[in-house]
Amino acid sequence: MFPAIPNPPVTPPAPKFGEADLVRRSASEVTPPATRLTEVAKLIDVSKCIGCKACQAACIEWNNLHEEIGYNTGFYTNPPDLTENSFTLMRFTEWVNPETDNLEWLIRKDGCMHCADPGCLKACPSPGAIVQYSNGIVDFVHENCIGCGYCIKGCPFNIPRISKVDHTAYKCTLCSDRVAVGQGPACQKACPTQAIVFGTKDEMKDWADFRIKDLKSRGYDNAGLYDPQGVGGTHVMYVLQHADKPSLYAGLPDNPRISPLVETWKGVTKYVGLAAMGFAVAAGFVHHLIAGPNRVSPEDEAEAEKLAGGKPT
């Protein structure tokens, strides 16, 4: 077993990271910190998950969320989708493996992946509403959020949700408040099978290797780590039995990347657009300087009087 993270000391420790450790801040420039923190990661071993939803309950409890009383949609997945009160969600998929003819129950804990290249942060128009720490955690800062929902369009994993109550965006924080004092995320703490483990990203990769070897020895030839490079790698990773087909797991993107539409909108459109507007204004000034005002001459007025004056008034 992976050694459990020890309980916190009784005396409150100083936070291990904060404002000084930002590597990215939405709609603003930051000077990268001189010393970077060690990258952390949460590893979710889907093969060890029993679908108990302890992580969901722990998340709601730690973050003091109040999910609405739901309804039965005929699936174990409950609520049926992530909400502003459910930062994480067990997604259940029943799949018949065509090679073995076995029914496989694939249970994936969905939630923010904490991308190294976060689409939400790139799409965000509000300075400081989304931040990325040098340890890899991507966090929403609610007092700066304007509720526009651009993060939803930026996210390759369809994670953020806008609250209808305070009109700000919510998602998994990777328990940044817990990690800051040396604890693992609440979901990790609650997981009874240690399907969720937390540590440095390197440790998690090593642990994943160990797990993948174990799975391969049990006949899961395609077992592997889900750490998609299209978004620069993630700080929430999965061990999948069928890593060749991530989309089996309730539509986990096979090759996630920030949508080219979002890249175009936030990239070339912004620069070309501003340049075009600036050019239009500049062209007006230059034209006015060169051509001068287009004035009506006294002759024009006289012609008009001749034309109109002949008629009775």
Binding site: G149, I152, H167, S259, W265, V281, A291, V296, A302
Partner: protein, 245 residues
């Protein structure tokens, strides 16, 4: 002043003719020194200025969300949350207000024979050589281009705007559709702002134009210089005069 478009007006030495498409209700010539020509009714002007104010507010609030460099503009609207909330509603005002303008002006903006020549001689237009241009009706080809491009852009903006108006319409479209909408919305907005810059600049450059949209009338000389065909039509139609005359 009411007008019957179908009733031919009989004039001495003239064949009966229908009212030309570019003569709008309220257009009239008042002989005098100088001649004044009524160009926009009070209702049309109010309609125009509601549209203008909405468009400027939309441009400011939209630009604030378009680029971080201009995010400070949200301060004009009471902060980011207010800007996000109010921008779509101003868009609704603009849409209906512009629809009013569209139905007022579309007939006068239909293409005319002289438009092609006007466009071909665009360098004379920019050089201010009106004498080398064909006589044009109430609107020249440039004004028509502004009218039709704004019509198309505003239709595109309201459509894409509703797709990305998450507060009320989130569940009706997919995220991918919203991404298309947001890209289309920003490009259409950039083009619309450029068209607006051309529109405002033309009104400033061509002196004597602004009074058409403020006081409602222009001088006869202005009409003679820039919209001579329209002026001739107005002079030839006694029905266009005010009853006091």
């Amino acid at each position: 002043m009411s007008r019957d478009r179908t009733r031919p007006i009989i004039m001495p030495n003239a064949v009966p003719a229908a009212v030309p498409a570019d003569v709008e209700p309220g257009d009239a010539v008042h002989p005098g020194k100088p001649v004044t020509v009524d160009r926009y009714s009070g209702a049309a002007r109010i309609n125009h200025w509601i549209t203008a104010v909405s468009l400027v507010l939309l441009a400011l609030s939209g630009m604030a969300l378009f680029t971080p460099k201009l995010f400070f503009l949200t301060g004009l609207f009471g902060g980011g949350q207010w800007t996000r909330a109010i921008h779509p509603w101003i868009g609704v005002v603009l849409f209906f207000s512009f629809m009013g303008l569209f139905f007022r002006f579309w007939r006068a903006n239909l293409p005319a024979r002289e438009d092609g020549v006007w466009v071909a001689r665009i360098s004379d237009v920019l050089g201010g050589h009106e004498e080398r241009l064909p006589e044009v009706g109430k609107y020249n080809a440039g004004q028509k281009a502004v009218f039709w491009s704004m019509s198309a852009l505003i239709l595109l903006l309201i459509t894409s705007g509703i797709v990305m108006w998450d507060q009320y319409f989130y569940s009706f479209t997919t995220i991918e559709q919203k991404r298309v909408a947001i890209l289309a919305h920003s490009i259409a907005a950039v083009v619309a702002i450029c068209v607006w810059i051309v529109h405002v600049y033309a009104a400033i450059w061509v002196r004597g134009t602004l009074s058409a949209m403020t006081r409602g009338h222009v001088t006869g000389g202005w009409a003679w210089r820039h919209h001579r065909k329209w002026l001739r039509e107005l002079v030839q139609k006694p029905g266009r005069r005010t009853p006091a005359e």
